[in-house]
Symmetry: C2
Subunit: 374 residues, 2 copies
């Protein structure tokens, strides 16, 4: 389907040209925008395809450039009446990051890019490395020295180049900028600074819509960079645009760790952007993002959906991991945080246990077995 790129901040529209990162005018996040004058055919979903490519008609890559490791179309489990959990740990590379990597690398291939690089808290780097390798594209992955060993290992399994830096994802980002200045052939894939990763993440929203028929009243998403949360909201808008959804009943909730909660702090003080979080520390590496690039988009999503933001302590996250284990689910800490947040939001009356709530388990606990030994 035809599309343009539109800046989510200043609304500047540009055609899809190769190597586009952020808005050339205001550095805002660029989003794919489809032309609205076309209805989808009734059989637009490839129902026998067990991946996110079942929705290929609303995804940017041309079919011949597609790189897939079988990502997406993850199941939704029922934890109890009115409480659902979408298990993103079932993606290749063990997390929802595979969705973004599949789209970003397919587009990189379409644009003839030969070398990608990313700064990451961990899982996005593993995914980028494995997808780039599958596409025959060189990858340089930069992560904090404190990133989980499993993420360093998956970069090595892919045979990609790994750079470890002191500090947080912000320091990794600085190193990435340096690298790209020194070598202009390198294309940076960082969260929200590349227009297509969110196109992969949005398919979570399409799946929730297809699998559940009716959208849940609440969605709780563990929020680091925020692409997943914002992507699901984008999907719901598109479904409305295509006439497949009349109204969107869903409130979007961001959960962070009390050890790194820039979005929660901004939300509570009614700010439209985040202040950087000083000295972030949490058992959930994916939540260790002191200031998300797309902060204004995350906060806009929470506002537009009449949702909210909540922080949970590490102790609550570890307890939630154990509780989910006793329901048969091997949870990652970020995903377990949504279960802790749910209990908190019900307790303080923000959400009703009689409304349907869907938690996003963003990764597999098998990548975090050490956390269970704590």
């Amino acid at each position: 389907m035809d599309y343009v790129l539109r800046c989510t901040r200043c609304h500047y529209v540009l055609p899809t040209i190769p190597r586009q990162t952020v808005c050339p005018r205001c550095q805002g996040v660029l989003f794919v925008e489809f032309s609205t004058d076309r209805e989808l055919p009734s059989d637009w979903i490839s129902v026998a395809d067990p991946t996110l490519w079942r929705y290929a008609l609303v995804l940017p890559p041309e079919p011949r450039f597609r790189i897939s490791l079988g990502e997406g179309f993850t199941p939704i489990l029922t934890l109890k009446k009115h409480l659902l959990l979408k298990d993103e740990g079932r993606n290749p590379t063990g997390t929802f990051k595979a969705r973004g990597a599949a789209l970003a690398i397919s587009m990189a291939r379409q644009f003839g890019i030969r070398h990608v690089a990313t700064a990451t808290a961990g899982n996005a780097g593993g995914a980028a490395a494995l997808y780039a390798k599958a596409a025959g594209i060189k990858a340089t992955i930069i992560m904090p020295r404190s990133a989980p060993e499993v993420n360093r290992l998956e970069v090595r399994i892919a045979g990609a180049r790994l750079e470890l830096v002191e500090g947080t994802i912000i320091d990794a980002g600085q190193r990435l900028a340096e690298l790209c200045r020194a070598d202009s052939t390198i294309f940076p894939l960082s969260t929200m600074q590349e227009p297509y990763r969110v196109e992969g993440k949005k398919t979570m929203g399409y799946e929730i819509w297809e699998q559940r028929h009716a959208l849940p009243e609440n969605i709780i998403y563990p929020t680091g960079g925020g692409t997943g949360l914002v992507g699901i909201w984008k999907a719901f808008q598109e479904l409305k645009q295509f006439g497949l959804l009349e109204k969107i009943p869903t409130r979007m909730f961001a959960v962070q760790s009390t050890g790194c909660a820039p979005v929660v702090r901004a939300w509570r003080s009614h700010k439209e952007v985040c202040e950087p979080w000083a000295s972030p520390t949490t058992v959930a590496p994916g939540l260790c993002v002191p200031r998300p690039y797309g902060d204004y988009l995350i906060l806009r999503t929470l506002r537009e959906s009449r949702g909210g933001a909540v922080a949970v302590p590490d102790g609550g996250i570890l307890k939630a991991m154990r509780e989910l284990g006793h329901r048969g689910i091997v949870a990652c800490p970020e995903g377990a945080a949504t279960f802790a947040a749910y209990q908190q939001l019900v307790e303080d009356g923000t959400i009703s246990p009689k409304d349907e709530t869907l938690l996003l388990m963003t990764g597999s606990g098998y990548k975090y077995l050490a956390s269970y030994q704590k």
Copy 2:
């Protein structure tokens, strides 16, 4: 759909009664057999369901007893022209064992069983523990002390009872028999000694059929207990029975490790059963089964399908893991063995690289990261 249990050895037919293990006459493996006088409705597949329950009409459990962690409907990747890989690592608990556990535990629940136990090389135990916990059924898991740490850990995450024994899965099986003699309320779930695990595994065959339209010429399966291999073959027979498949073009190949290859040895000497393999040792724990209970069924499948059996050395398995990593796939050793076997079978002319071959990657390499460090 109505069904009976039929012994795969002496053909004795019995109704589905609770707590049935093996054939009461000859101790053969019992299989579900559907009545043939019914055609499936055209919309029999629940196409929006991303799990094996999309084929619920050909699965024994009554819907209200169903326990699901979202197993099945895994993707098929293209490694190169004519070479496919079905990624079973994408199941909950990280392996295809989840399929068997989902069915066995759903049926245990339907029969009112309160305590299950299993003897396992590792992954089946983790799966049984997590599914039993999800169903509120007590589980005792017996595995060799040499089983991977990840499997011990997942049993603990589920909060199930773990017993470690010296020796192999055979010793674990003896301990299980002891346990069941001492406490008749315990129901044993061991491979091929319970009629419903294979019903879960067979869904791999239904998926290959649904996802690929045409069946591949060759399927290579890493064979320990053999339920997966035999289950896929059962699915193809059922699809023929239901008129959904005219003929079955697929040759089934079993791959084992040179350190434990009872099926390969029996196949080569045209035997119908296996001799126990003395002192088994391999980097692929799932292949460490010195004498599979369903040996005669495995060998029958290879014969009926005009397939074969091949053994690969540990070095070949580890090399295949690295090669698959360089294609973006984090492989388990058992699954990597199929890639090594493919190369061997093409080299010796047994299979043509121009025919379509499908490899079963039975588990996620994220459960075996230590193997990559070797």
